[in-house]
């Protein structure tokens, strides 16, 4: 009787797991299904043509460029700052200050994305416009700056976590050899936490790629390929939000599912890379 109940509960748990995992696969399925007519017309065309629906071009190439450039730039801006901050929190800062700073960073992860976009429009855009004396202020640079602030807390916390995970024995060894805190950090912790840092960067990159609101509100949304960082640009995510309104049968509408597909596959690649690295690291450890 009890055994029967046990088995039953286990089956229920299994069922929930299957339901949850099937959602992931369903999402992929829907994206592929809806984008199919467009994909059939030529995958290469889709990925390299410009977006000019009135002339019959339904390519998402400008958007792919937009997403890549904004994400990479934001990573470029956020990585050094995050690394420095994580140094500060884990080694260089005095104990009490580090704890306070860590709280601040943790609190930052709770700030809604729409707030970053909102403040960006009214504070950052006019600033950039005045500073560069040209352009509308809604461009790659502004979006990348805001996005950099957005992804920094995640990177910082991740880095600090990796630093904390370095085995105690390494740190003790360095200590006994006479290294001070900073030297331990630079020559012992950092090399061991190398994979953790790469994983953190990859995850932040995925986050930056998937963000919708900051680029929708601040990057300008033009459909041209950007030529400079002061150009207005549209990302894959903003494109989905903008074109959702179109006719359900039209190729324009299908293009947003192609965008969704591209994003989905990109994220899968990032996650797989992260897992490989983490696996290698734990193997190394063992």
């Amino acid at each position: 009787m009890n055994n029967w109940k046990e088995r039953g509960i286990e089956k229920i748990f299994l069922l929930s797991t299957i339901i949850s995992s099937s959602i992931t696969l369903l999402i992929l399925g829907f994206m592929a299904y809806m984008a199919l007519p467009l994909l059939r017309g030529g995958l290469f065309r889709l990925l390299t043509e410009p977006w000019m629906p009135q002339q019959g071009f339904y390519g998402i190439y400008p958007m792919i460029v937009g997403t890549s450039v904004i994400s990479l730039l934001s990573l470029l801006i956020a990585f050094p700052v995050s690394l420095g901050c994580s140094f500060l929190i884990s080694s260089i800062g005095p104990k009490s200050l580090s704890a306070v700073f860590r709280r601040i960073v943790q609190m930052m992860t709770g700030i809604p994305t729409v707030i970053y976009g909102f403040v960006g429009i009214f504070l950052l855009v006019p600033l950039i416009r005045e500073f560069f004396q040209g352009g509308s202020g809604m461009c790659i640079l502004t979006a990348a700056l805001m996005l950099g602030v957005l992804i920094s807390p995640t990177m910082i916390l991740f880095f600090c976590d990796s630093f904390d995970r370095v085995p105690r024995s390494y740190i003790d060894a360095a200590d006994s050899l006479g290294a001070n805190r900073l030297q331990t950090l630079l020559y012992v912790i950092l090399p061991s936490a190398r994979e953790g840092i790469v994983i953190g960067v990859l995850l932040a990159f995925g986050r930056a790629m998937g963000d919708t609101l900051v680029s929708l509100m601040i990057a300008g949304n033009s459909i041209a390929e950007p030529k400079s960082i002061l150009d207005s640009v549209r990302t894959l995510t903003a494109h989905i939000a903008l074109v959702i309104a179109a006719d359900y049968e039209s190729p324009e509408f299908r293009s947003i599912f192609a965008c969704g597909l591209v994003l989905y596959l990109f994220i899968t690649i990032v996650i797989l890379a992260v897992r490989r690295l983490a696996f290698r690291k734990s193997e190394e450890r063992a």
Binding site: I111, P112, V114, F118, V149, M217, A241
Partner: protein, 293 residues
């Protein structure tokens, strides 16, 4: 030479800390400065008395009340959908799954966690359209569809925190009840779950915060500009983050912009409060767990 490098690193780290703190504080102070002026009952209730508005006796037209109610209903709906499934899945992965299966599922849920919110919203929208065409023409983007889509979004959070909370219990705790003759299920219900409650609850609160602040998903699945307090889950609704987004690009009068600042401040305070709550609960419960009187 090395000395110089080390000194440079110290100087560099402090600069980075300063830059980040300056960035976050300028955002907060700017909002506080601009939004504090709009912070009074009129922001939420418009010209209607708060009591009447809350009791739904009178409609609020130019206040945030419908948006606040919409957000609250949305959050409750999506969390109540995601909780049972998420808990069950997390428990299964932590307790019952073997290594290879666990790995496979973990990969799937990592991917689910990484999917951009707008893609989840797109899925919700496509689902609604699909059901609308093939099952019943009364299914349209509405509170229910948004709640479902948001549930998909926060499912990985709940699964992961439940799984980690259960897995990080020490072997002694796991084995004691079993050694005394309890079944796996009894062990789970009477020992393991209560012990990992803090982790699970903080996961729930994170999920609540995520639902409250998300804009991309609701934009595609049923939030509208003006709808009043939703009367059923099949109705369109308003939400706070969408209001902020909408006002930021399309305010028509300075008052509306002030309202936007007030709304932004409100949302910010709400999310920070939830975050602090999760943290406090974690601390309180772990205190209780260790120092049970």
């Amino acid at each position: 030479m090395k000395q110089a490098g080390e000194r440079l690193t110290i100087w560099y780290s402090w600069t980075c800390g300063l830059i980040l703190t300056a960035a976050v504080f300028s955002i907060l102070v700017y909002l506080l400065f601009k939004g504090a002026g709009a912070f009074h009952p009129k922001l939420i209730f418009g010209d209607v008395s708060p009591l009447k508005a809350v009791l739904l006796q009178q409609r609020v037209f130019d206040g945030l009340f419908p948006a606040v109610v919409g957000t609250l209903m949305l959050v409750s709906l999506s969390v109540s959908i995601a909780l049972p499934i998420g808990f069950a899945t997390g428990i299964y992965l932590a307790e019952y799954a073997d290594f290879r299966i666990k790995n496979a599922f973990n990969l799937i849920f990592d991917i689910l966690a990484g999917i951009p919110s707008i893609v989840v919203g797109l899925f919700g929208f496509a689902l609604a359209v699909f059901l609308h065409k093939h099952y019943s023409s009364s299914i349209q983007p509405c509170l229910l569809i948004s709640g479902l889509a948001l549930a998909f979004l926060v499912l990985p959070y709940i699964i992961r925190t439940t799984q980690i909370a259960l897995e990080s219990l020490s072997p002694e705790i796991r084995l004691t009840a079993l050694a005394l003759g309890a079944t796996k299920l009894q062990n789970l219900v009477y020992v393991l779950l209560p012990q990992s409650l803090t982790g699970m609850i903080s996961g729930v609160i994170l999920a609540i915060g995520r639902c409250a602040e998300d804009t991309a998903v609701i934009m595609l699945t049923g939030v509208v500009v003006a709808a009043g307090v939703p009367k059923s889950v099949f109705a369109p609704y308003e939400a706070l983050p969408f209001y902020i987004y909408y006002i930021s690009s399309q305010y028509t009068t300075p008052e509306e912009l002030m309202n936007g600042y007030g709304a932004a401040l409100l949302l910010l305070l709400l999310c920070l409060f939830l975050f602090a709550l999760a943290f406090v609960i974690k601390k309180r419960l772990s205190y209780l767990a260790f120092y049970r009187p």
